[in-house]
């Protein structure tokens, strides 16, 4: 029996069961929340496998299923670079360079770490940048998932979809904090894998297998000759030249994202041990390997199965494939997977935005006004209030904010404006003891200005969307500015740097002991 929404009754049952199950699991985790530390960093009790699962689901949203497939439809397999080159090397660097410092220092946020390393101005600016970026991305994600995906395929009213997912996600994030977010992520990733692999298998079956896909796409014409090349020539007009991918993405944007994005790093901050924090990053990298197989390859199959979409409607590749290929039951599972991706992404961003608001914005404003730090119980109550306020406000503002052009490139462009300078400041802060607070502040501010100039000055790069080059060059510029200003200003004291800089932790046993004491206090 087909319902009026175009789904079989069994599909609706599967989706409803999944939603109720997620909500129940999230609310169950409330019993583990008794303090602000429990709410924001799960009481430092997360095992590596939960961290790995959560990192992947927090990173992948329903929009990625749609947008990466759309990018693969237009540009070929090079769209998968963001989950391969743009993940694993960065996660290894994050695991063994940045995560040990964050975990050992006991901070709740990365801006808080920067505040200890440099000064409160760097902390506040960094926190403000991430709070604004996460707020806008939360609104965009919610609307685009509800509109571009659910409305396109199911014909559901996007406002109803938006408020249902916002409501469910908001309730369990409000109740259980990071613990609820992480353990619902574990379930959500399993559902995503089952649904995604099902779509991949059906797509390849319908096309006639991998060899047939390869042959058929190349036979379509010269415009598809690079569709099976991951690293495209430097002078390609598309947005993914190899120089941009290796340097801009692999060395800058990906490292900045995996090391400097509160949404990703917060999971490692909740690890029960440093080994679990590092292992979680590595495990997440291994799990992320399979994501492009589930999102990009169906996009390639859509070139054969849904040939009439065109560049402007490429983001409809996955929804159309679901409509065409998936029978009743499996379609419900696939939509449950898409809801899983949407909800995990929303809950992760929501929890992290709240953490940044409490620690770096409100906390710093109180500090500058001379007020005492927020008490533990008050921080927990405030965290829940801000969670509720954020989910309601982003749901209300979702459509106005989301009325922009192509999804994926736009979001990456926003991140590219800030991530190069942020990475420069973070990297120098950890590896170079001579970096000073003024140097960090100058690098951050001037680096972001450099990003803006490079992005809006036309004719400097061969690519139509040069965000990868902008990220690389703004990173280089911010490094230079930070070094120069640091050398011109008074060095930081050894006591301040103890435990926060690479050499003092790796070589100095006294520093390690001091850090261990600091963490356990």
């Amino acid at each position: 029996m087909e319902s009026a929404m175009g789904l079989h009754f069994i599909d609706v049952i599967i989706i409803v069961v999944y939603m109720i199950g997620s909500l129940a699991l999230g609310i169950y985790c409330t019993r583990f929340v008794g303090s602000a530390e429990d709410f924001f960093i799960a009481g430092k009790s997360l095992p590596f496998w939960a961290i790995g699962f959560s990192i992947v689901t927090s990173d992948i949203g329903a929009v990625d299923f749609v947008a990466v497939a759309g990018a693969a439809y237009v540009n070929g397999v090079s769209a998968a670079n963001f989950d391969w080159m743009g993940s694993m090397p960065a996660m290894v660097i994050a695991a063994f360079v940045f995560v040990p410092y964050f975990w050992r220092s006991g901070v709740f946020t990365i801006p808080e770490f920067l505040g200890r390393r440099y000064n409160t101005a760097v902390q506040f600016i960094n926190g403000l940048i991430w709070a604004v970026v996460l707020f806008f991305m939360l609104a965009i994600m919610q609307w685009l998932s509800a509109d571009k995906l659910m409305h396109t395929v199911l014909g559901w009213n996007p406002y109803i979809t938006l408020w249902i997912t916002a409501g469910i996600t908001g309730i369990y994030t409000f109740s259980g904090g990071l613990t609820a977010v992480v353990f619902t992520d574990v379930v959500q990733l399993i559902v995503m894998y089952v649904g995604g692999m099902g779509l991949l298998a059906l797509s390849l079956w319908e096309v006639g297998g991998w060899s047939a896909l390869h042959t058929k796409i190349l036979a379509l014409g010269p415009q598809y000759k690079d569709h099976f090349t991951l690293l495209l020539p430097h002078n390609t007009t598309g947005p993914f030249p190899w120089t941009g991918i290796v340097f801009g993405l692999g060395l800058v944007m990906a490292v900045a994202y995996m090391s400097g994005n509160q949404v990703i790093v917060q999971r490692t901050l909740g690890a029960r041990s440093e080994w679990d924090a590092k292992g979680g990053m590595l495990f997440g990298g291994l799990l992320k390997f399979f994501i492009p197989l589930m999102v990009a390859l169906p996009g390639l199959c859509a070139i054969i199965l849904v040939p009439n979409l065109g560049r402007e409607n490429a983001d409809r590749a996955v929804p159309e494939m679901i409509r065409l290929l998936m029978p009743a039951g499996l379609r419900g599972l696939m939509f449950a997977a898409l809801f899983a991706a949407m909800m995990s992404h929303i809950s992760a961003s929501l929890n992290s935005t709240t953490t940044i608001f409490i620690t770096d914005i409100i906390g710093q404003l109180r500090n500058w006004m001379g007020k005492a730090p927020v008490k533990e119980k008050t921080a927990l109550r405030l965290g829940r209030i801000i969670t509720a306020a954020l989910i309601i406000s982003t749901a209300l503002l979702a459509k106005p904010i989301a009325d922009r052009e192509q999804i994926y490139v736009f979001m990456q462009t926003i991140l590219s404006l800030f991530q190069g300078p942020l990475l420069a400041v973070l990297l120098l802060g950890i590896t170079w003891p001579r970096a000073t607070g003024y140097g960090g502040l100058a690098g951050l501010v001037l680096g972001v200005m450099c990003c803006f100039v490079l992005k809006y000055t036309p004719g400097l790069f061969p690519s139509e969307e040069p965000f990868l080059f902008v990220a690389w060059w703004s990173f280089v510029f911010a490094m230079i500015v930070t070094v120069v200003v640091s050398l011109l200003t008074k060095p930081e004291s050894e006591e301040k740097l103890r435990g926060l800089v690479w050499s003092s932790v790796v070589r100095d046993e006294d520093a390690q002991r001091a850090l261990n004491n600091r963490v356990t206090q």
Binding site: W84, L230, L232, N235, V246, G250, K278, G285, P462
Partner: protein, 156 residues
Amino acid sequence: MIPRRSGVKDMTRTECVIACCMIAVANLSLCLFLGAHPAIAQTATPDAAPAVTAGGQLPMMPESEMTWVNKVCKAIFYPVLYPFFKLVNDLLLKIPNWMAGFCGVGLFVCAMFWVAVILNKDYVNHGRPYKTIFTDLRLWTVISMTPHVLVYFYFR
């Protein structure tokens, strides 16, 4: 003190290097097999049509598509920045395409080598619950990165 499971010993640095080399040889063999297999052998594709015009100029956005921000930035910064970026682009264009795959795979291999060989073993595995091969993060780094090396070799 970290508990040790009986009968299972930890990897020394030498053993770790040997394990990495064995995995690398296995990867290379698999890549050669994949490359030689007639069902999935890829044909070389010619370079994409150059975006740079015949006069060597980088493509410029049409005036009709420029916002006022683009116009202001172009007026102020373009004359200063263009010579530098033109020089960089000319240098990058001279790099052969096979270097792209080399750099891509090299990034993964260098990261593996850095973790498995250069970093201190105790630093890499600090805080692990049991001292066994299966909790050695150097080994898991290599295992996690190996599939990525394969795909970048395959889709070259």
